[in-house]
C-alpha cells in the first residue's frame, strides 16, 4: 500500500455553473471530496457602475443603480435616492416614502422567494423552486403595474417616487398578501421542515457572531449568527419607525447557530415580517404628493455622506462624494454579497465540495452585486 501516491486535486468550478447564481468562479483545492480551500474569483460581471456614475448626472444614474443588484433593484434605487437627498437636504413627501417602503418590501418578498426557491434547487429539489417562482411572478406583475418594469424598475427618483399607486392596486396588493401568507406555511411543511432539507442544511458551515462581524457580513447572514442588527430598526430611515415588526434571529434550532439552515430560515421569517409591514403600510398610507420638487439641474453642495439601507441582502452602504458640480465626484456601493464572498475562502476549509453549493446558496450571493 505504501506505493500508492495521493495528491491534492485542483478543480475549477464556474464561471458558468448552475449553482453560482450568475457568473462566479471558484478554484477548489480538494483532497478527494473534502476541500482544502476554495478560492473565489470574481469580476466576470464587472460593469464599472461606479465609474459610470462619475460620467452621468445625479438623475441619470438612477437607472444604472437597478443593475447593481437586479434581483432587488428597489433598494439600490432607494439607497441612491437617499444619498442624494441627504447631500442636498431634500425632504421626501410622506406618501412618497410610503410608496418607497411598499415597493421595497414587495421587492424583498420577491428576492427572498427566489433565494428560498434556489436553495431548494441547489440541493437538488426542483419543486420548491417552481412553487417559489410562481409566487414571485405575481409580485413581478404587481410591480410591473406600479412602474412598468419587472426587474430593473427605475421606480424611484431623487425626492420620492416616479408614480403614485395606480387605481385599484392597493386591493390587489392586499389580495396577494392574503394569498401569500398561507403559502409560506405551505413552504415550511413542504420544504423547510422536511427531514431531507434539515439534514442537508443543519450544521453546514456555521458562522459565529464574532466572525460575522469581523468579516462584515450583513443582513440575514448576520442575523442568522444571532447578531440583532437591522438597519430598519436600529438606524431607522424612511417611515420604518411607523411600523410594528420583529427582527428574526438565528438560534441554532436545528444544529449550530449561524449554520446554513439558520440562514435559510431567516429568509422565510423575514418574508412573514415583510408581509406584516406591507399590511400596515397599505393601511396607514397618507394622501398627498409622492415626489418633492427637485431641480432638473441637480447640484448638491460639496460634501460627502454614507447612507445605509436594509436591502434583501442586508445593509447596503452608499458612499457619495459631491464636488458641487452636476456629476458626482465618487460613488461607492458597499454591498452584502461582496462581504459574503470574502468569507467563503475561510469557511471552505474542510468543507465537502457539495456543501460549497449549499454555502453559496445560503449566503444568498448575487454576482452583479459583488462585481458592480
Amino acid at each position: 500500500m505504501s506505493t500508492l501516491r495521493t495528491e491534492e486535486m485542483t478543480l475549477n468550478m464556474g464561471p458558468q455553473h448552475p449553482s453560482t447564481h450568475g457568473v462566479l468562479r471558484f478554484v477548489i483545492k480538494a483532497d478527494g471530496e473534502v476541500m482544502r480551500e476554495a478560492i473565489p474569483d470574481v469580476g466576470y460581471l464587472h460593469r464599472s457602475i461606479e465609474k459610470i456614475a462619475e460620467k452621468v448626472g445625479y438623475h441619470g444614474f438612477m437607472p444604472y443603480t437597478d443593475r447593481v443588484d437586479y434581483v432587488c433593484a428597489m433598494f439600490t434605487n432607494q439607497g441612491w435616492g437617499m444619498a442624494c437627498e441627504k447631500l442636498a437636504g431634500i425632504e421626501v413627501p410622506r406618501r412618497g416614502e410610503y410608496c418607497r417602503v411598499i415597493a421595497a418590501e414587495f421587492n424583498r418578498l420577491a428576492s427572498h422567494l427566489l433565494t428560498v426557491g434556489l436553495m431548494g434547487m441547489d440541493i437538488g429539489a426542483m419543486t420548491p423552486f417552481l412553487h417559489a417562482l410562481r409566487e414571485r411572478e405575481m409580485i413581478n406583475d404587481l410591480i410591473e403595474e406600479l412602474c412598468g418594469a419587472r426587474l430593473t424598475f427605475n421606480y424611484m427618483r431623487i425626492g420620492g417616487v416616479a408614480w403614485d399607486l395606480p387605481p385599484g392596486w392597493r386591493e390587489k396588493a392586499l389580495a396577494y398578501l392574503d394569498h401569500l401568507e398561507p403559502i409560506l406555511e405551505e413552504y415550511n411543511s413542504l420544504f423547510s421542515y422536511n427531514k431531507i432539507c434539515v439534514e442537508r442544511l443543519a450544521n453546514v458551515a456555521p458562522i459565529t457572531a464574532e466572525e460575522a462581524i469581523n468579516y462584515n457580513l450583513v443582513g440575514p447572514n448576520l442575523r442568522a449568527s444571532g447578531v440583532n442588527w437591522d438597519v430598519r430598526k436600529d438606524l431607522p430611515y424612511s417611515v420604518y419607525p411607523d411600523f410594528d415588526f420583529e427582527v428574526p434571529l438565528g438560534s441554532g434550532e436545528w444544529g449550530t447557530t449561524g449554520d446554513s439552515m439558520d440562514r435559510y430560515m431567516m429568509r422565510i421569517r423575514e418574508m412573514v415580517q415583510s408581509s406584516r409591514i406591507l399590511r400596515q403600510a397599505l393601511k396607514q398610507m397618507p394622501d398627498g404628493a409622492v415626489l418633492a420638487k427637485v431641480v432638473r439641474n441637480f447640484k448638491p453642495a460639496p460634501g460627502e455622506c454614507q447612507v445605509r439601507v436594509e436591502s434583501a441582502r442586508g445593509d447596503q452602504g452608499w458612499y457619495v462624494v459631491s464636488d458641487g458640480s452636476a456629476n458626482p465626484w465618487r460613488v461607492h456601493v458597499r454591498t452584502g454579497s461582496f462581504a459574503a464572498m470574502g468569507i467563503i475562502q475561510k469557511l471552505s476549509r474542510g468543507l465537502m465540495i457539495a456543501d460549497l453549493v449549499v454555502l453559496i446558496a445560503s449566503l444568498d450571493v448575487i454576482a452583479p452585486e459583488i462585481d458592480r
Binding site: Y319, R330, R334
Partner: protein
C-alpha cells in the same frame, strides 16, 4: 458616542497623528497620518468606550492632487460609527493594511488596489479582484483613459445612425 467625540478621543491619545478634524455637514470625518492608521485602528477596536468591531466600508477617492483612503468604522456594541481618512500622494500611494484588525478589509483593499492603485503593505493577498490581471492602469483614477481595445476586442462600437448623420453634414 457622537462621531466628533470619538475623534476627540483619538486626538487625546494620538495628538500629532490626527491631522484634521472636520465637522463638515452632513458627515464629519477625521484625517489621520498614514503611518498611524493601524495603531489608531487597534485603539478603536480595543478601547471599551469605542469598541469598533466592524469595518463597514473601506474605499478610495482620487482628488487629482492626492488619493484618499476612507474607512467607515462601526461598533455593533455601542451602535456608533466614525469616518477616518488617510491622504496619500498620487504617485506610488501606499499605506499599511488593516486586515489584521478587521478581516473584511482583505477584499475591500484588493478592490482599492485594483481600481485606484493603492498598495497595502502587509496585505496577504494583494491581487486584482474585479479587472483582468493584465488590465492597463487603474480605472477609477481621474486621468484614466480607456484603452480602445483589449486583446483585439474593441471597447467602442460605431453607430450606423450617427455615421449617417455625419454624412449628411
Amino acid at each position: 458616542m457622537e462621531a466628533l467625540k470619538i475623534y476627540e478621543r483619538i486626538k487625546e491619545r494620538f495628538a500629532d497623528e490626527v491631522l484634521e478634524i472636520s465637522d463638515r455637514k452632513p458627515e464629519p470625518f477625521a484625517v489621520v497620518a498614514p503611518r498611524a492608521i493601524v495603531r489608531i485602528g487597534l485603539f478603536l477596536y480595543d478601547d471599551p468606550e469605542c469598541a469598533m468591531d466592524c469595518l463597514s466600508n473601506e474605499t478610495g477617492v482620487d482628488y487629482k492632487d492626492r488619493i484618499e483612503v476612507v474607512y467607515h468604522v462601526f461598533s455593533y456594541r455601542h451602535r456608533h460609527s466614525c469616518v477616518l481618512k488617510v491622504r496619500l500622494p498620487r504617485d506610488n500611494p501606499s499605506v499599511e493594511t488593516v486586515e489584521e484588525i478587521w478581516r473584511s478589509a482583505n477584499w475591500m483593499e484588493r478592490e482599492i488596489f485594483d481600481l485606484l492603485g493603492v498598495t497595502f503593505e502587509g496585505h496577504t493577498d494583494l491581487r486584482r479582484i474585479l479587472m483582468p490581471e493584465d488590465w492597463p492602469g487603474y480605472p477609477l483614477r481621474k486621468d484614466f483613459v480607456e484603452p480602445l481595445e483589449y486583446h483585439g476586442i474593441s471597447t467602442v462600437r460605431e453607430s450606423p445612425i450617427i455615421r449617417l448623420d455625419q454624412k449628411k453634414k
